[in-house]
């Protein structure tokens, strides 16, 4: 499983450009705020259309401006964990987890809830969750959608030290036990050095 990304996109006055070719494991996109890290994730996920470039994941071409390929978001099977969790406010935790669930997935809802330590939250509403809990539910929701790869955008933002540690352990277990390739965005060097096998500076 590999990522082959070379994308370019003008956003206002700046141009976000990024190119890398990496294998599996956890790869960090590292750089200061405003460097366009999130935009790169959005382009890999299909939420933002590059002006030019190519996105190939695991040998499958998801976007190629020269070849006219643009696989729609729904078909890319990106497990995207957003910085702001983005849980659906009108659905309970269980329904959020089940939203994109596929029968042939990596794990069942109960297994995912156990793995992430959120089994006791299944009947709660998203607005009643703490930041760390919401992030873990968000990770679970992405995992259950049977993704081919994970995109994580600063999943530790807004968490206190103890909660950060909880989520960091979950991410390490994901990296080591589940084996999905992860593209991980952060501006925190210590975090990136602890988690990432490859670091791409932006």
């Amino acid at each position: 499983m590999s990522f082959e990304v070379a994308v370019e996109r003008r956003l206002g006055d700046t141009v976000v450009a990024c190119a890398f070719h990496i294998g599996g494991g956890l790869t960090a996109l590292f750089g200061p705020s405003g460097a366009g890290k999130t935009s790169v994730l959005n382009m890999v996920a299909g939420l933002l259309r590059p002006d030019a470039g190519r996105v190939v994941v695991g040998g499958e071409v998801l976007f190629d401006s020269a070849g006219g390929v643009d696989v729609p978001v729904q078909a890319r099977r990106a497990g995207y964990v957003f910085q702001d969790a983005r849980l659906f406010p009108h659905l309970r935790v269980r329904e959020n987890l089940a939203y994109g669930m596929k029968p042939e997935g990596l794990m069942t809802l109960e297994e995912a809830a156990e793995f992430l330590g959120i089994a006791h939250l299944l009947n709660r509403w998203p607005r009643s969750l703490s930041g760390g809990e919401a992030h873990r539910v968000s990770i679970g929701r992405a995992l259950l959608s049977n993704p081919r790869f994970l995109l994580m955008d600063e999943p530790l933002t807004g968490l206190d030290r103890a909660r950060r540690e909880d989520v960091l352990r979950v991410i390490e277990r994901l990296r080591d036990e589940v084996g999905l390739p992860i593209l991980y965005v952060s501006h925190d060097r210590a975090e990136v050095e602890r988690l990432a096998g490859t670091i791409i500076e932006m």
Binding site: Q74, A75, P89, Y99
Partner: protein
Amino acid sequence: MIEPDVWGIVWLSLKVSAVAVGVCLPLAFALAWALARGRFAGKVLLDAVVHLPLVLPPVVTGWLLLLAFGPQGPAGRWLEATLGVTFMFRWTGAALAAAVMALPLMVRAMRLSIEAVDLRLEAAAMTLGASRWRVFRTITLPLALPGVVAGAVLGFARSLGEFGATITFVSNIPGETQTLPLAIYSALQVPGGEAVVTRLAVISVLLSLAALVVSEVMARRMGRGSHVL
């Protein structure tokens, strides 16, 4: 004076308003969607046309309806020929007038609620594999629903009170087009009609108040649901 059939008048008013809102609802939602999400030439003009009945003298709206949907009007002739629907001096005409007058209020409420739906949640649903239709059904519509209901209730209340366009378009015929406001107007013309006026007016106030309370409760619920954390 002859005692009018108060409950008949109330029933007719409710029927006219319910049909007006029911027919208007899909159109109002489609317009609200286009105005909230669409990017097309003439959007400002469409917005203005939808809101026109709100600022036009209702008599003018009624007269325009007469021109369009009367027996000689192009829309009236076409509807009579294809669907066999006539509006002149019928309760259906009263419903049409009420619908046109309620449309701007309904579109406004629905548009605001559609605009309040967080596009980032829709993007999240798409990354989870949901088609555009599923995103609409399971995310956008449920989150906008309180506003849609509030719009429908407001439209219903506005329809109950419709007077000017109705009396101009379909006249004031007891049992057919004489809704609550028109009955109150008629009773005021008759010596000794004050008792009837009072009864009809009290009913009007209670119905309108109930509609506004329901609408307000819906609007509050909408405010609460749209935050994630």
